[in-house]
């Protein structure tokens, strides 16, 4: 390979892991937040169901 | 709509013309979905002694703090001695005194310094004279140069009364003033109250049903932020009042 071209592209390969890591980490953080929202939603729904059940039991009495 | 009327009347004229100590219209206090006070309306004549009763969390203290301009209402209007608490809070503040179970004193200032501080902040015309007069009235003249920290609970409470009366308020708000007082101290407190009743209106918040009933000319019963009863105490006897209290609280 042409030494000049090698020089031109010399930082590309070493940089690649960092670029990949940067993008991966960004998406990971975003994904973590989505997970927080989803688990929060699930927990709320569960509480709602429990409340409904308790209310129904109360009415039957 | 009532607010427009309040605004147009000049503060001084309104105060002079006031023939009711409190005028509460549709007062509510809510945050989020929690309602601390729910649409209260009542009117208390001047010179009256109102006792506010209710269980824990009924909104007694919240109501008192709104009357004292320490908390703001969510809706409705309140006028204290003819001054609207939203439009003229400073006018209201100049006319009320507040005594709570916490003394509002600086423990590291002497009795005299504590009173002088209050007198000067309120702008009492002759602060030194006034302070001496009040110290004599609460029988603390001999202890005037002592730190408030060194006072017993009863003495502290007496000093707190002097502090609350320093600017000659026409309405005195009392928030559980008997908390932590021994029987002797609360006797003295009662006697002191009695001497002041002729010239001022009072609002008392208390757990003690009997005490409230004995002292009051008007009774107000709160239940979960709702007005359960507002009546002159002459129209009730203690048995029916306490029955009503336990019905609402227990129910």
């Amino acid at each position: 390979m042409d030494p000049i071209l090698a020089e031109i592209y010399s930082t590309i390969l070493p940089a690649a892991p960092y670029v990949i890591a940067a993008y991966a980490l960004m998406w990971l953080v975003l994904l973590a937040y989505v997970l927080v929202i989803v688990t929060g939603q699930k927990r709320t729904e569960k509480q709602l169901a429990a409340l409904e059940e308790a209310l129904n039991a109360k009415h039957k009495q | 709509m009532t607010e427009v009327v309040e605004k147009t009347s000049a503060p001084v004229a309104a105060a002079a013309a006031a023939d009711s100590a409190l005028e509460v219209r549709a007062l509510s206090k809510a945050f989020g979905t929690r309602k601390a006070l729910d649409s209260l309306s009542f009117e208390l004549p001047t010179g009256a002694f109102l006792a506010i009763c209710g269980a824990n969390g009924a909104g007694k203290t919240t109501l008192l703090r709104i009357l004292a301009t320490l908390a703001r209402p969510s809706s409705g209007s309140v006028s204290v001695l003819g001054c609207d608490i939203k439009e003229q809070p400073d006018e209201v503040r100049a006319r009320i005194g507040f005594i709570s179970h916490r003394s509002m004193l600086y423990p590291d200032l002497t009795a005299e310094e504590n009173l002088l501080l209050a007198a000067r902040l309120y702008g009492v015309v002759e602060p030194q004279t006034r302070v001496s007069e009040l110290l004599a009235a609460v029988e603390l003249t001999a202890r005037r140069y002592d730190l408030a920290r060194s006072f017993s609970r009863g003495m502290t409470q007496r000093l707190a009364i002097a502090r609350a009366l320093i600017h000659d308020p026409q309405l005195v708000l009392l928030d559980e003033p008997y908390t932590g007082l021994d029987p002797h101290a609360s006797e003295i407190f009662d006697a002191l109250l009695a001497t002041q009743r002729a010239s001022r209106s009072f609002v008392l918040v208390s757990h003690d049903l009997r005490k409230g009933f004995e002292l009051a000319s008007h009774l107000l019963l709160l239940n979960r932020g709702k007005l359960e009863l507002f009546a002159p105490s002459a129209e009730l006897d203690f048995a029916s009042f306490s029955q009503l209290y336990y019905q609402t609280v227990g129910g």
């Binding site: - | 301009t69 003394s103 509002m104 200032l109 902040l121 702008g123 004599a136 000659d168």
Partner: protein, 265 residues
């Protein structure tokens, strides 16, 4: 002392009574004239100064704490070589000292207001809420300045006596003053918030340090160049002091505007 107490003007209406029979003490009606805002400010400031003069609570605790921080600095620098010159980092060390010490003082500045709910008593007086802020912030500025006046010579004595201070070292007073005012302003607002929270001491530090970071950065830069001197010293000193002053103005203005909401909550 009490035997010669002046007879009150209103004596006739105030009969002496024994504790058991608190007889009718009809008070004479009294007139009030609302004092000017500035007078109320002076009364409140005077109250804090009088309290502090009596208990010396804040000054002693801050002073001792400052000395302890100096000891920690000394330990940290002990292992450096004999000829190690502290001067290049002196500006930073001085500000670390001031920030830690002021945190301690700010935490204390509202504790006596809460002890017996005295602050509530002040709130019941017809006065502008921002007066409370200005009086408390002024008291904090004064206390901090006193502590600085005591500890900074000590800092010089312990760390800089062997260094060649630049001729411009006197200029360091400017960032010290500007920084102290900013710290007291923002700190008073935050202390009002944190005094009502769980774990108030830690929380004040958590909120305070990042918030004053810009001020700290500018003041460290200005103090360092003032101590080090050099030809282009003014190129750093000027903008640093100007920006620190701008921070003071903006932050104190915002704190002043927000204070009514905070203290009424």
């Amino acid at each position: 002392m009490t035997a010669t107490e002046p007879t009150p003007r209103a004596t006739p209406s105030v009969p002496t009574a024994t504790a058991t029979s608190a007889a009718a003490a009809t008070l004479t009606p009294t007139a009030t004239r609302r004092p000017s805002t500035f007078r109320q400010y002076r009364i409140l400031l005077g109250k804090d100064l009088r309290r502090e003069f009596r208990t010396r609570e804040m000054l002693t605790s801050m002073g001792i704490y400052a000395v302890l921080v100096l000891i920690v600095f000394g330990t940290a620098l002990m292992q450096a070589s004999a000829g190690f010159d502290v001067l290049p980092v002196a500006g930073g060390l001085i500000w670390a000292l001031i920030v830690f010490t002021s945190l301690l003082g700010l935490n204390r500045s509202f504790s006596h207001e809460k002890e017996e709910a005295a602050l509530e008593g002040i709130m019941l007086v017809p006065l502008d809420r921002s007066v409370i802020f200005l009086a408390k912030a002024s008291a904090n500025v004064l206390f901090l300045l006193v502590v600085e006046i005591i500890t900074l010579p000590l800092f010089y004595f312990l760390f800089l006596s062997g260094s060649a201070l630049a001729a411009t070292f006197g200029l360091a007073i400017v960032p010290l003053l500007v920084g102290t005012i900013g710290i007291a302003g923002v700190g008073t607002l935050l202390a009002t918030i944190t005094v009502n929270t769980r774990g108030q001491d830690v929380l004040l530090a958590v909120l305070f340090v990042p918030l004053v970071f810009p001020l700290l950065y500018a003041c460290v830069a200005a103090t360092s160049v003032a101590l080090l001197g050099g030809e282009d010293m003014m190129a750093t000193f000027g903008p640093a002091v100007a920006l620190a002053a701008a921070y003071d103005v903006i932050m104190i203005l915002v704190s002043w505007l927000l204070y009514d909401f905070i203290i009424s909550a």
